[in-house]
Assembly symmetry: C3
Homo-oligomer: 254 residues x 3
């Protein structure tokens, strides 16, 4: 069953904060419906970085009220024939270019309920530009879906083969946060039997939280994303280990 929209629209983009794009997209959204309630998630995604965007999408799953509309704009293919998608999954709606940024909700264990390719003609949309579909398409569609002007199934026909980014099964660092914590793609379930993480020649023992080790010591733990992280108590694991996103890790079960 489709969740009931609540008016809430989140924005996740790679627009940064030095250009008018965020403001202009908000304006387009509010022009489509002044009742939409906009929540900024982040606008500092690395430009055109589909993996980073997909990591954020995974982090948002299950974290907002049922019926929230998430608009994700990282769109290196704007102006090509790529579709724009609307996905109903995880009790929320997701709007984004069909370029794989929605992989976590499309390929997740709970899977999508329904996936649509936006039908611009049926929606009465004639994009003003070839280079800013966030403003010209996703903003009004997000507002209309969130406030009930269009139901989900009126947004377009079912999309048969939405782009899903190939899962790299190799355990690795998928995000480095502001504090220098290394967030991996290993889930709590995958970590159940492990005693820790090995990065290069370093073995880092599993703990519950930072305070379980002395200041300056490294630890591995299940972090707030439900994923294994490596941190340094009171410091930056990324700096201490000189590793970044993409670095291989191993689980240490001996």
């Amino acid at each position: 069953m489709l969740p009931r929209p609540t008016g809430l629209v989140t924005l996740l983009t790679d627009f940064g904060s030095h250009d008018p794009y965020v403001g202009v997209m908000k304006g387009a959204l509010l022009r489509a419906s002044s009742k939409a309630q906009i929540v900024d998630v982040a606008h500092e995604l690395p430009p055109q970085d589909l993996d980073a965007a997909a990591f954020f999408v995974g982090a948002l799953r299950g974290r907002f009220p049922t019926g929230t509309v998430h608009a994700v704009v990282v769109d290196p293919g704007v102006g090509t024939s790529r579709s724009l998608l609307a996905v109903a999954a995880d009790d929320c709606y997701w709007l984004a270019p069909d370029n794989g940024v929605l992989t976590p909700v499309l390929a997740g264990e709970r899977g999508p309920i329904d996936v649509r390719a936006l039908d611009l003609e049926a929606l009465g949309l004639a994009p003003e530009s070839c280079t800013f579909h966030g403003r010209d398409v996703l903003a009004p569609v997000a507002a209309w879906l969130a406030t009930g002007r269009f139901g989900f199934s009126a947004l377009g026909p079912r999309a048969r083969e939405p782009v899903v980014r190939a899962a790299d099964p190799r355990p690795r660092v998928v995000h480095v946060d502001r504090y220098g914590n290394l967030i991996t793609n290993v889930t709590a379930a995958g970590f159940a039997a492990a005693r820790g993480v090995a990065i290069g020649t370093r073995r880092i023992a599993r703990q519950r939280t930072y305070a379980d080790v002395a200041a300056g010591e490294l630890l591995a733990y299940v972090g707030s994303f439900g994923l294994v992280e490596v941190a340094q108590n009171g410091g930056s694991a990324a700096a201490a280990l000189a590793v970044g996103r993409g670095a291989s890790i191993e689980l240490w079960s001996a």
Copy 2:
């Protein structure tokens, strides 16, 4: 006729994100009216850069709901005798110091409907500080105008000669965006007969969108601001051409 305010107030400032100024201004706005609905446009305008602010103001024209109040705070002259302006133009309201940041709405082809110099005494305002009129004046006035406590014409007497920044008619790059796209001051109309853009010795042919050229190639096109832009498909034109804001361009019509 004056547009009807809707409660919506946008904020465009050069306050950055490392100081309490944005938060404190929002507080002042909500203290003046808790019904005001605040929308962050941008706070990372280059400090005290009137041209950058004016570019953003131009980009916002026509992009928000009718009756929106736009508060623009880039104010190198705070504490001098410069006025603060309220402008009704482009179906919206604009509040800013009288320093030229509102040039696009004052000098635009549609022109302003009405321009007022804020009368602090009539508004019952005695600024608490000499250095933060964004908080002490523009915030409450924005809230009052947006929520109907004061009508536009009660804000002050007509301003006779608001500051307008001299238009530099020379075709040039007026903004470089996060993706390295070069945004020029050439309008779509001015580009109608052109085959492309020349920057230095490089000729860049006109296209419709990025995907019309191979990866790594340069293109000129009418972008989402309605202005001519130069981009590199899959890269940064600013880096590829080693040019920035202010660089001269020529139209290539041969």
Copy 3:
């Protein structure tokens, strides 16, 4: 008497803008109550910098509507046994880890009305993670307090000795803003008899505002925080004087 909550919740964190933490915390807040109205104050506090956070807290005092709930998340001790506090002070509510970030409202001249240590069990909260109490505790408690699900005194027992950061009485620079203005810990009252400020061998005379000196000249004045600042008209005092946060100053009364 306790102020009446209005639904307004401000967020002040050190999460930065490159991680999902801000978005995920907003989601948790809205899941707890979709009627909460979120206002971003700042998310770029220097990571785990308790003094910087306390400076912002001081700057917010008295600046928001009565009954606003301020959630402050700078939490180097997350996962230790430190408490989480709720404070009623300055006509508002303040939620934060018990690590001294609330010093200005706890030790201020008006003092707190009441200080509580959150009782997670009584609130029905079992934090999902050991490392993100902003999401798992402070977000729902902020929403519940702001929208009336829990009254202040139901949040937990009185806290006897909340952490207060030792006041360093030495006159000094406590914040450098984006414009290079040096904000000191000297209040307007403390400056009443002074003719200016001395930094190293430089004497900087007291003025009312920037425009009272020629471009490029330094000045001392009571700034918008009610604290003495040192600025350079049209430039950066921090650059001109080569001083930063923590630098000693002297009042010059001769």
